[in-house]
């Protein structure tokens, strides 16, 4: 699959519990990294899964108040923008668009050139 905005159906609404994330493998999307799709308080977000600081999966992080905290060293990222909110991360992770359509969660892979809002 190309990295254009065709969209990939990743789950049904209800398939990702609040405070949880679904890791969509790179093989499924054709993207350079796995993508974590987060559910935070009724809203869905998607970021590149690998922390920009260390080798850790953000899908296993703590999700709260619009942020995800990396399970490895506790760097926090904005779920919306992928921007780091505290050390030790200093670089963003790429953000992708998520759409809820007819009870299903769709992932739209963003361009491969930096974080998108």
């Amino acid at each position: 699959m190309s990295t254009t905005s065709t969209g990939i159906r990743v789950a049904e609404v209800g398939g990702i519990e609040d405070g949880e994330a679904l890791k969509v493998p790179a093989e499924t999307t054709g993207h350079s990294d796995a993508i974590a799709v987060f559910h935070d308080g009724g809203a869905y977000y998607a970021l590149d899964d690998t922390c920009s600081h260390g080798q850790a999966s953000l899908s296993e992080g703590w999700i709260e108040d619009g942020e995800v905290e990396c399970p490895m060293h506790s760097a926090r990222f904005c779920l919306e923008s992928g921007q780091p909110q505290c050390m030790p991360a200093i670089a963003p992770v790429r953000a992708h668009r998520v759409e809820v359509r007819e009870g299903e969660i769709w992932l739209h892979i963003g361009p491969d050139d930096g974080a998108v809002g």
Binding site: G19, W62, S74, M87, P88
Partner: protein
């Protein structure tokens, strides 16, 4: 406050780099120079006793920041630069080559040096320590299958080194006079389970002290004579993991208040207002111990940046550390010594469980093996002072997140 335009940092570990990040993030645009006695780009230390020792991480994998970070943030790295003196009154530093450096603020991030084994023969060439990149690489080259390795000290570094050595096929003996290391910090249950893993993985654990090291005549290696039962132990190499001495020499010579570390206030300010100390070398006034953990170092750098810029400090929150050994991860929040009762979540027999420490109906500490999410929840519960019910903490069917939503 006098305008600060030149900051000189002695040392280039995590605390120093975190300081630079925080200074730039807060808008400081003056001179910022790191003087590192070591060569090369600054690196992160936790992997030195884990993936570097296992041969799974190269130098470029463990850099604290990529090379372009220094250029982008105008942080000048003077590697291979030894600082000979700090001169607070004159305002600056003197380098080993005689160069005088003028600075408005000096930050000491000199870390520490591993303690040598304080016994006869403790300086034998067979004894390794683990603090720097070179220490780790030197030891890694010797950890060959069948090598007899004696690790002295079963705290964080010793336990991790022993786990790596046995994973690499070495025959490992772990010697510590403490029956269950770390129990004071993480509690008996977690400490006991962790320590028990050593034996399960084939490490010979001996609970006693070392009285002397005898050089094996005509060969390499030593015989460890012990103070109690279980010896002597023949070893091709020894790893001493018995803590560090804070590198306070520069601070002492500069007349700063030094007592088991450079004594600092909440902003990491030393007894001289223009000199700060961060990381392992610093001891917070009123704290009995130096907090020699990764996150504590990072936070101390951030706190010093706030202090230098005269900005209010962020709330520190509960302390946190981790340790990896035998494929498991220990994490702890706060210290179990602060708890008056404990409650277990999960099944200790499974190897993965959490112990919560409570006092006066509040959570004060938590320690877990392979239960990172419990720790993340615990940290928030501690920091927010949420009243907790012990039965709910113990109930696996009760979501810890729910405790935070009220």
């Amino acid at each position: 406050m006098r305008l600060c335009r030149r900051i000189a940092v002695v040392g280039a570990g995590l605390a120093a780099v975190s300081l630079c990040d925080a200074l730039r993030a807060r808008g400081y645009d003056g001179e910022l120079v790191l003087y590192s006695a070591e060569y090369g780009l600054p690196y992160d230390r936790p992997p030195l006793s884990k993936d570097v020792l296992l041969g799974k991480a190269r130098r470029e994998d463990v850099l604290l920041r990529p090379e372009q970070w220094y250029a982008e943030r105008h942080v000048a790295l003077r590697d291979g630069s030894v600082v000979r003196a700090v001169r607070p009154r004159e305002g600056g530093l003197e380098l080993a080559d005689g160069t005088v450096v003028v600075a408005d603020r000096v930050v000491l991030a000199t870390g520490g040096t591993p303690r040598a084994l304080p016994v006869p023969g403790g300086d034998d060439p067979a004894v390794h320590v683990l603090r720097t990149w070179e220490d780790s690489v030197r030891l890694r080259e010797r950890l060959l299958p069948g090598t007899r390795v004696a690790v002295v000290g079963a705290g964080l570094i010793g336990a991790e080194a022993a786990a790596v050595a046995v994973a690499r096929g070495c025959r490992v003996t772990l010697v510590d006079p403490v029956a269950v290391p770390l129990a004071g910090v993480v509690g008996d249950a977690v400490a006991g389970a962790l320590h028990g893993r050593h034996t399960a993985e084939g490490i010979a654990v001996i609970t006693t002290g070392v009285s002397r090291l005898e050089h094996r005549p005509g060969g390499s290696g030593v015989v460890l004579h012990l103070t109690g039962q279980g010896g002597p132990v023949a070893a091709d190499l020894v790893v001493a993991g018995i803590g560090i001495r804070p590198a306070t020499g520069l601070a002492e010579a500069a007349g700063l208040h030094v007592d088991n570390g450079v004594v600092v206030g909440t902003e990491q300010r030393t007894s001289h207002p223009n000199v700060f100390a961060v990381g392992d070398v610093a001891r917070r006034d009123g704290h009995r111990v130096r907090h020699e953990h990764w996150e504590a170092a990072q936070r101390s750098g951030e706190a010093a940046a706030h202090g230098i810029l005269g900005e209010p400090l962020p709330e520190p929150g509960a302390s946190w550390f981790w340790s990896d050994r035998h494929g498991s991860r220990l994490e702890a929040v706060g210290t179990m010594a602060d708890a008056e009762r404990t409650v277990v979540r999960g099944t200790p027999d499974s190897g993965a469980f959490t112990v919560f420490g409570l006092r006066d109906g509040r959570l004060v500490a938590a320690a877990a093996i392979d239960r990172s999410r419990d720790i993340k929840a615990a940290r928030r519960i501690v920091d927010r002072g949420v009243p907790v019910d012990a039965a709910r903490l113990a109930d696996e069917s009760a979501d810890l997140r729910a405790l935070l939503k009220r």
